[in-house]
Structure formats: structure tokens, C-alpha cells
Symmetry: C2
């Protein structure tokens, strides 16, 4: 379990101690399988648990009464969901599995126990939530202020980077179990236009998308053409006061050189 997606993502943020690694492993041990197409959380209902995605893809999306919907965020292995939903009496969005998924659920009280015993792990999970917020803000920029071509390119590169962190992508390719209708609902476009934009991007030689797999053929060129800026992903990780052990938020610079 040392190299679970969750542990890999956490170690982007803090240097995990053995105890923290063990606590994460204990969480991950509670895996529950959810079949493709199943709602893990339904919009309008109370979500009693937060959960960690151990394997598979899910999406957070909001429905309008007339059937339109917007995909807010793609959940991939190592992602947490429902942490903020715990604060509310009912969920304002649904979470749906788009492949078979394995999750580990935690109730409020289990979660607060975990945070009390392992405060730095709690901070790292909170970092994770902050990053997700930044990603959703970027989706807003995408949909509000970019062309269809730019939106698509930005999303594909975002997913490449996020999947690389949890070892679900090599340096240029990843499995992509997302059909064009879902993609359209994520990008704020019609599925027909997604199709045509996808074709244009393929013809331009930037990507190959076939059979649920994406290959970024020319990342440098694509990044230039769509003005990609990855700053919002905060891949550089967390500030020193958070990363290193023996150093609390109020400490000034006494972080140990515990990296690696």
C-alpha cells in the first residue's frame, strides 16, 4: 500500500512518516467496489461520508431541472471527495462512477479521529481539497473565457499532470474512459462540437484519442497553441512549514532536511 495513489498524492504535499503511511493504508484497506454508472452521492440527498477514490474514475456534476448538467470535476485515483459536503445538510451535486470504482468511505467521526491522531495528514488532505478548488476555478476560466479548442487542450493537459502524480499516466499518455457527451458537459459545449474540435486537434497532430486512450503527441506545441499555464495545479507542492515534520504552522524556519 506504500505506493497507493493516495500515498503518492499525499507525499507530493508532506513527507509521510511511517505512522502516517500506516494510517493511510488502514483507510485504503476499507475498499468498497462501486459499479460503473452508479451514483455514489445523489444531488439533493445527504452525504454521510467522505471518501477516497482508490481506483477508477468518477465525476462530480450538477444537474439542472430541465436535464442540462455541468461536470464540475473528474475524480481519479488518489482524489478525496465529500469533505466539504459533510458541512451541509444536503449535497448540491452528484458523484457518479464512470468506470468501476473502488472507494474507501469515512464518516465524520472517523475522519475527525484521523485528523486528531494525524494532524499533518489532515493538513495534507486539506491541501488536496485546496488544490481541487483551484482546479475547479480553472474549469470556470476554461468555460468562461477560452475557445473550444483551448478548453479541450487545457483539460487534457490537466488530466495528464494529475494522473502522472498518481502513476496512472506515463510521460505522454493515459487511459481516458470519458465519452464525448460527458466531455461536452465538462467543457460547456455540445457533443457535436466536441467531436469536431477533437478532430481538428488530431489533424493538427497534437493528440491521438482512440478507444479510451489519450496520447499527447506534441505537448510543447499544444501548450503553446492553447496558452497552457499549469500554475493552478500547484505541482511544486506545499510550503516548507507544511511539508517537513517537526515543524508546525507557527514555526519560523526550523524545518528539518527530511526530503526524500
Amino acid at each position: 500500500m506504500l505506493n497507493s495513489p493516495a500515498a503518492q498524492k499525499m507525499s507530493q504535499v508532506i513527507d509521510l512518516t511511517n505512522e502516517e503511511t500506516a494510517a493511510l493504508a488502514a483507510v485504503a484497506a476499507r475498499g468498497v467496489r462501486v459499479a460503473r454508472g452508479t451514483d455514489i452521492v445523489a444531488q439533493g440527498e445527504k452525504d454521510e461520508c467522505a471518501f477516497l477514490v482508490r481506483d477508477g474514475w468518477a465525476l462530480r456534476h450538477r444537474h439542472l431541472p430541465d436535464g442540462r448538467r455541468q461536470v464540475l470535476h473528474f475524480l481519479v485515483p488518489g482524489d478525496w471527495a465529500g469533505l466539504t459536503a459533510l458541512m451541509f445538510p444536503e449535497s448540491d451535486h452528484s458523484v457518479t462512477a464512470i468506470t468501476d470504482v473502488v472507494i474507501a468511505s469515512l464518516t465524520v467521526s472517523e475522519l475527525s479521529t484521523l485528523f486528531l491522531r494525524h494532524p499533518r495528514l489532515g493538513m495534507a488532505i486539506y491541501w488536496t481539497a485546496a488544490q481541487e478548488e483551484a482546479v475547479i476555478a480553472e474549469h470556470l476560466v476554461n468555460v468562461g473565457r477560452r475557445t473550444a479548442y483551448e478548453r479541450l487542450g487545457n483539460l487534457l493537459l490537466e488530466l495528464l499532470f494529475r494522473l502522472q502524480v498518481v502513476n496512472r499516466a506515463d510521460h505522454r499518455a493515459f487511459d481516458f474512459p470519458v465519452n464525448q457527451v460527458v466531455l461536452a458537459d465538462a467543457l460547456g459545449l455540445s457533443h457535436v462540437h466536441v467531436n469536431r474540435t477533437l478532430q481538428r486537434m488530431r489533424k493538427d497532430g497534437f493528440v491521438s484519442i482512440t478507444d479510451h486512450r489519450v496520447v499527447i503527441l506534441d505537448q510543447v506545441g499544444l501548450e503553446r497553441v492553447i496558452d497552457f499555464e499549469g500554475a493552478y495545479l500547484h505541482m511544486a507542492g506545499s510550503p516548507a512549514w507544511l511539508r517537513h515534520r517537526q515543524s508546525g504552522p507557527a514555526a519560523n524556519g526550523a524545518a528539518s532536511a527530511a526530503k526524500s
Copy 2:
């Protein structure tokens, strides 16, 4: 200071004790004035402090290299900002005052002291951050899947409700120091189209917008026409375990009847 916007917003979430009220007042006492048009936080730079908006309007927005930009969120009195930005080495967006603004800033260590001394206040502030996330997600739905007319109506109603909570709106009207260019950048439209959409909504008799003031003339009719659903604002507040004192997250039902 008992009826400061911040205290009003907090009491939407928890029943404030005297100590908590005093702690909030102590924070608010640190007011700093920021002139209209000033960047409080600049995209790409490190934000050392989180802050509370005591008075005035500001906006969180992200810039693209070519000058396009997207407004993520309007900050009004009682709103916190920069809580998640503390987790990152550099800010991925700017915060700019659009009126003269009074803020109260807190460093990481001041904030963590506050949270340690007043954990329930910390939870309430966290609730606030969760609500803001839900609001930004709604902006994404707005821009991704609604027409110009719907986007505009939804934003105006959102602001009406948010301002009512902090006593900056009566039952139908509020001051609105936002020009059409900014509105366009929030709604993902051109300012020309915002202008025409605004005119249409006025002609339809739903709103009056003159001289930096919005009056919702027919809220019921507007809500119906634009399919407004306020669930994402979570106006019902927080679950009982969070609201009442003497009750921690792990407690089962021992909440005191302190509501009044």
C-alpha cells in the same frame, strides 16, 4: 461589533458564544483600508495572509497571458479570502478591490492560534469556505450550461441572498458597484452582450438596474423564468453537530438547546 457582517455570517453557521464573539471582534478591530482599484493579492505572488472583508466589494479573478480574464467570485462584507491560498507557494489568482474596502488580515500563525483557541469558530470559517466553493461551482454551471439571460439572473439572485445574510440588502434591493465589463468577465460574455441582456431583463420587468443599484422587481417571476435553485447557497445553514455548542463532531446527539 456584535452585528458586524462577519458575526452575522458566522451566526448563520454556529451559535456564537461570548468568547467567540469577542474573538471575532478582536479580528475585526484590525481593519486596514484598501483603495478602490487596488490589488489586495496579485496573481503569481505569495499571499502571506488570509483576510476578512469588513466593508466594500472585492473580486477574485484569474488572468490569461493575452489579457482575457475570468472573475471567479465577488467578495462582499463578511467574506473570508485567502484561506486556501495559504497552502500554496504562490497565488493562482488576484484579489482586487472594486470599491474602497476595509479588510482584517491574519498571518498563518495568527490564524492557527485563533483556530486552536476557538475550534468551533474555525469550523464555522471552514463552513464559510465550503459555501464559497459551492458558489464557485455554481458559477461554473452558470457559465457552462446556462444562457446569458439565465446567467445574469442567477448571479443577481445569488448576490441578493448573500447580501441579505450580512444586512447589506433589504428584501429586494442592494447596492451593486459592478460595471458591465466586470459583469461580462464574471458571466463569460462580452460586455456588449451583457448590456443587451440587461436591457432585456429590465424590459421584461424583472429588475431595475440604475446607478449602481439593483432592485429585484419580480423575484418570483424571475426565479421561475431562469430556473433558479438556491440549494447551492446552503441557506439552511449547518448540521446540528456543528451548530450547537458542547457538541463535537464525534458526539452523537448531546447538543444543548442553546438556539435562540
